[in-house]
């Protein structure tokens, strides 16, 4: 569907990092800590105070292939009463429940673990439920994730994302299990620590949507799937043979080598997973293995 392209949002959608190295070196969490140290955290409460008793102006993308009035994509304006702590998800839920019950979006856990409500908020991929509305410039533009087909309003088709996830054989492969009753496999603390961040992926699709390469190459496995593969390839409980098999999947034409280290995925990941780093590490592993063979 080409409705996405009709929207004049391309220019602001993929703002190139001004200083890629700097961006890559700071996780969102580090960024938050930095702000806090610099006394910038107070900004939020000031913004909140300012907004109290007022409404929040949100502009929400609307499209429905089936309803005549919505076949032409547009933005609808809603003015939602502000409450302290209100998130983007709270605002669209309010708009839906109070103003227009046809406003459609996915959401479920509202605590950043189900990954349903990744939206494009003021030009960045964010989870609606963990984005405080007071942190955003108004009017807040809420759009479906770019580079994915829009099903309706904020709902995008996730099939391609799931296909890519499935393409990396996303399941533990270790047939050689310890013998004896209740004997678990051993895993060192260090190794668990190494894969820990990669296991936090909630399949929200924000990274795929932010990736310029994935946007241009539909076959590129993309950051989420590669991270999923990393989770297994780096887990010491899987043996060397399967690790090599995994690397062969990853080093194919549309695998890790497609990544151009733009850090967009790392920047938008709501779980702070160092996706770009994981992709680079797998590139190094692939090189190491190939050198062995050649």
């Amino acid at each position: 569907m080409s409705t996405q392209q009709e929207q004049p949002r391309e220019p602001e959608s993929q703002e190139a990092p001004k200083d890629p190295e700097m961006k890559g070196s700071k996780s969102p969490q580090q960024e938050r800590l930095r702000k806090k140290e610099a006394g910038l955290a107070d900004e939020r409460s000031e913004a909140e105070a300012e907004a109290t008793g007022e409404t929040v102006h949100i502009k929400v993308f609307r499209y429905d292939p089936e309803v005549e009035a919505k076949q032409e994509p547009r933005f609808d304006d809603f003015h939602v009463p502000f409450e302290k702590g209100m998130t983007v998800l709270d605002a669209v839920m309010y708009a839906r429940d109070e103003f227009d019950s046809s406003l459609t979006f996915r959401h479920s856990c509202r605590q950043a673990v189900c990954g349903s409500d990744a939206f494009f908020v003021n030009g960045t991929q964010k989870l609606g439920c963990k984005t405080q509305i007071s942190d955003l410039e108004q009017p807040v533009r809420i759009e479906p994730l770019p580079h994915q087909e829009v099903v309706k309003d904020l709902v995008v088709d996730m099939d391609h994302f799931y296909d890519q996830m499935h393409a990396v054989e996303p399941y533990f492969q270790q047939e050689d299990l310890p013998e004896g009753e209740l004997e678990e496999q051993r895993q060192s603390r260090e190794n668990r620590e190494k894969v820990k961040m990669s296991t936090r992926c909630i399949w929200c699709g924000a990274c795929m949507s932010s990736c310029n390469i994935a946007a241009g190459d539909n076959e590129y496995l993309g950051p989420a799937a590669i991270n999923k593969a990393y989770r297994f390839a780096m887990d010491e409980r899987e043996d060397e043979e399967i690790k090599e098999h995994r690397l062969r999947i990853l080093e194919q034409e549309h695998g890790v080598w497609r990544c151009q280290t733009q850090f967009s995925c790392t920047e938008v990941c709501p779980k702070d997973i160092p996706l770009t780093e994981h992709i680079q590490e797998l590139k190094r592993e692939a090189v190491k293995k190939n050198l062995k063979f050649w």
């Binding site: 429905d64 089936e66 046809s102 950043a112 099903v151 309706k152 533990f172 270790q174």
Partner: protein
Amino acid sequence: MYEHDVIVVGAGGAGLRAAIAANEAGADTAIVSKLHPVRSHTGAAEGGINAALREGDDWELHAYDTMKGSDYLGDAPAVETLAQNAPDETVNLEHWGMPFSREDDGRVSQRPFGGLSFPRTTYAGAETGHHLLHVMYEQVVKRGIQVYDEWYVMNLATTDEEDPNDRQCEGIVAYDVQSGNVEGFKANRGVILATGGPGQAFDHTTNAVSCTGDGHAMAYRAGAPLEDMEFIQFHPTSLPSTGVLISEGVRGEGGILYNEGGERFMFEYGYANNDGELASRDVVARAELTEVGEGRGVNDEYVHLDMRHLGEERITDRLENILHLAEDFEGVDGLVEPMPVKPGQHYAMGGIDVDEHGQTCIDGLYAAGECACVSVHGANRLGGNALPELIVFGKRAGRHAAGEDLGEPEIRTGYGDDVEDETDTELPVQPGSAGLGTGDDVAADGGVTAEVDVLEHAVERERERVEHLMNKDTGVQHAEIRSKLQSAMTDYVNVFRTGDGIKNALKIIRECRKEYQDVYVDDPSRTFNTDLQQTYETRNLIDVAETIALGALVRNEFRGAHWRQENQIRDDENWLKHTLVSWDDGEPAIFYRPVILEGGDKTYEPKERSY
């Protein structure tokens, strides 16, 4: 029409485990879920999985703790099955690659949890459920099990014999959320409901918005009773603004609760002199609300949970997720300030009445996980006991539905000669037909007696309902009814309960039913119509809320999570029994079944619970 041997409804922990087990037992298995599997609410579980894995611990201790925690309303055969199978199933997860937290020797870590006599809660940081869900979905992918995701299951296709024990479930009716097509799914061997909790019946809940009791309501209307619905667990530590859960792991690691005056009230005010913050959840939830009620709460609303003294290293290692939650949703940095917490609806101990094989009284209809009541949790669930329930009983339901012989069940289900009818309590409202105004006055809602194809008939019915809801131009919207229902439940059927309050709730629930007759769907589109889906869900919430309130009204005693002002003693003489509510010709009927305290080789004697 689609056809499979076993159809699992819901794709959280119990559903995925059931599907894997059915698949392994050789059945052609499919999962039908309104969410994509990795978005299920199991992912939000934080704490861990209780399993007696270590020297010094054994399943009997686990069973004992669970019986005691349940306030002697758990059925011993179910509790023992849970405790016996949890270790194998937990290690099995490890074998599937689950990233558990580790000890120095590489073995999985375990930690203390409320009400446990041994630190047997196996965990993966404070995000155990997330990992459990993903690992299990990975196994589903590995086995190529068919998943129909974003298909909303609207109803069961059940025969309509007069006695629910004679009925048979032949399949389900679902609609494809993306296209709006309503289709039948024939289940040759069985339907397993694994639809999770009904937390959305309350307005302050840790549950996802998808937790609308769909499975409860469908089974109930098909004739399977709901058991012990009055027992709702209120988790003592949820964030005040959103209800987001702060794991019991925080208290397990040594987190402390303070009132506004900085007093450690669990000890200082004597709520739990032995166990303090690690008393069982019902005790802590009441303590917090008592503090707030007596003017010692912070901002008259909540108390403080402090973990700063644990030190950054330990917090980051074991509770990192909590730091993120507190910061993102409350703007509080858990490393430098205490976190605001208050009780929030968290878990339903009750559910669809099943035996230890997961089977309901309706042939071919199973339930597992939070939507089911075996019952292992009785009047109060111990932290860390929900996840083992999912995997142990999910697996059993899957195997049994696939045709494996698990022997004679010890737990009985449905209406039978072992039950006692409710005759004493005066109900404040006359329960009556509560359908959608489209002539659904048959006994098994959506059912039919014979001759006609049961599934076809059920599909036709749902298509008519959708037409009716979509064609209606004016009336009430679901959001209005839902919000009224949620407020009533939170106002009157909360942690503290009175007979009059519950009667008020029942009156409001009846009003909601009446208003629901006039409900309509405003969104005219068939594409991803969440308005339609939520309208269906709201109906389910009304049914479930009514059973919760009815159970709470008739049980005039104080047991576990169920506190009644009029009668603050546990009345073992009269109430060592389960409450069952069944849908009898469209009206709720209440009856009781004795609790089974007799285990394999010992009987669990009720004792006073002290912490």
